[in-house]
Symmetry: C2
Subunit: 305 residues, 2 copies
């Protein structure tokens, strides 16, 4: 029977909470300690059965842990790592679940007694809901998880973290932090930034117009509001923490949008048609890659103008 | 028993095909004639049972019709109206399902023998699939349909078209074409334009990067590809046909995006956090307006970076 022993979760929201449930449900853990700053979060985590112990102090939380999973807002991880460092055992493996990696490596690694035990990670899974109540057992099933170990990482540490995510149902890929950040900038960070922007544009409309937007949101807007309902603290940290890659992709997007704007203004239908035909191919590629599914025709979120 | 008599569908794709199924399933129609340019479309419409007769010539198709529903690509409707006009009976009611209204009114009305019988419409429902095979009976259930009758419209014509859409399960609102076009520009047209743009941005990446985008699309990109998989001809027409309102909303969006870009560049986390918190409220408004549903936590499309 696989067991990952004593796992300490620093921060106990959607991701770490779901990890707790996934490990528990399959008997993959002996003890779970959760660390949270707010007393009500600790209390709730215990009530929900996400952990055996809930403590406030990071150094105390990591004592005796085989694996420590950092799941705080990404830009808080450096400070948390510094606070937990005195409690770490030499063989404890440290990982994280942050959505950008190079910055987290830079923030966290210097505080660790042995950076070779650090295996940065990013489970590419989630919902727009946050907090321990949003956690559920199957969040990682059939999803991907990226690990970005440093060149100096211990092989056994990498394999343990890989095994942990595979145990939850994910498929694991390894790459450099920089490569991860470029790929996720376009597949995740830019889409979120754009969704936040357009929903914000609506928020600036006068109140009556907003009410109508709500009524007719099914024409396409609904999907954007879902993405833009994601956790504000986390997304602030992700966009600031992956600034360069996000700005690079945003620059490309803005150029492309300006070109389309011009095509609309000048009635260049062929340019629009060509692009809209190409994007259909991309849709097929995404479906083929198994990261999507063909929606049922009675899907209530199906869109059309 | 409600019956709308002889209904002629000009164009028989997702929307008109679904209308045919919805009317048929509830016994709301005596005869359905479909008009399509391509022989294979006419054949398929007959095979699928979407119509009793399938003809090529619009003037022939509308002969004896109580209601004619224009469902061609929006910018083709003017030419189709001109071709069908000689076959129209004086009392035939004409409607359409185009996603922008002012331009369609301007294109179609002048060709009709009696514009008072024209009741422009827009069922705000659909999927990213197109063609007669994509049609299904419940497409309009619990969706909204906007009618934009001219001031000179016959009251009985408006009430008949309202009754037809209510019969399919939709709730019907009346407004001016111009007002419709402004509301839909932000709830539907701009979201589609943006989704097409970002998916196009990915299409311009080198091939290996694209493959990775497909793999990690679950981080948010997937939803955009679905929207950007919609019918190219229709969307070219919608964006060109609602040019002014789309450019106006696009201008606001671009300004807002530039402000966020600047906030990211200069590390202004508070600005990002404030926006991301406001957009959560909009999400709640959309859900409250019943145009969305709270996704189940095991939704395979749920996103997270």
């Amino acid at each position: 029977m696989t067991s990952f022993g004593h796992v300490t979760l620093i921060g106990i929201g959607l991701i770490n909470g779901s990890l707790a449930k996934a490990l528990r449900a399959r008997g993959g853990v002996e003890t779970i300690t959760a660390c949270a700053r707010r007393p009500e979060t600790r209390e709730r985590a215990l009530e929900l059965g996400l952990c055996d112990f809930a403590v406030e102090d990071p150094a105390q939380a990591v004592e005796g842990a085989d694996i420590v999973v950092l799941g705080t807002p990404p830009l808080a991880m450096g400070a948390v790592a510094e606070r937990m460092a005195p409690g770490l055992y030499p063989r404890t493996i440290i990982t994280d679940v942050g959505s950008m990696k190079a910055r987290i490596v830079a923030d966290v690694a210097p505080h660790l007694p042995d950076p070779a035990r650090f295996v940065p990670g990013h489970p590419v899974a989630g919902t727009e809901h946050s907090g321990p109540d949003a956690a559920f057992e199957t969040l990682f099933v059939n999803r991907r998880c990226v690990l970005t170990p440093l060149e100096t990482a211990d092989a056994d540490a990498v394999e343990t973290i890989r095994a942990m995510w595979e145990f939850t149902g994910s498929s694991v890929d390894l790459m450099t932090p920089e490569h991860h950040d470029k790929v996720l900038a376009i597949t995740s960070h830019l889409p979120h930034l754009i969704a936040y922007t357009i929903v914000g544009t609506v928020d600036d409309l006068e109140e009556q117009a907003q009410t109508e937007v709500f009524k007719y949101a099914a024409g396409g807007f609904t999907d954007f509001t879902r993405i833009a309902g994601s956790d504000p603290t986390m997304w602030r940290d992700v966009l600031l923490g992956n600034r360069e890659a996000v700005l690079e992709m945003l620059g490309r997007f803005s150029e492309d949008l300006a070109a389309l704007q011009r095509a609309i203004r000048w009635g260049e239908g062929d340019k629009l048609f060509d692009l809209f035909t190409r994007t259909r191919e991309i849709r097929r590629g995404v479906i083929a890659a198994g990261q999507s599914y063909i929606r049922q025709q009675d899907d209530p979120l199906a869109d059309r103008p």
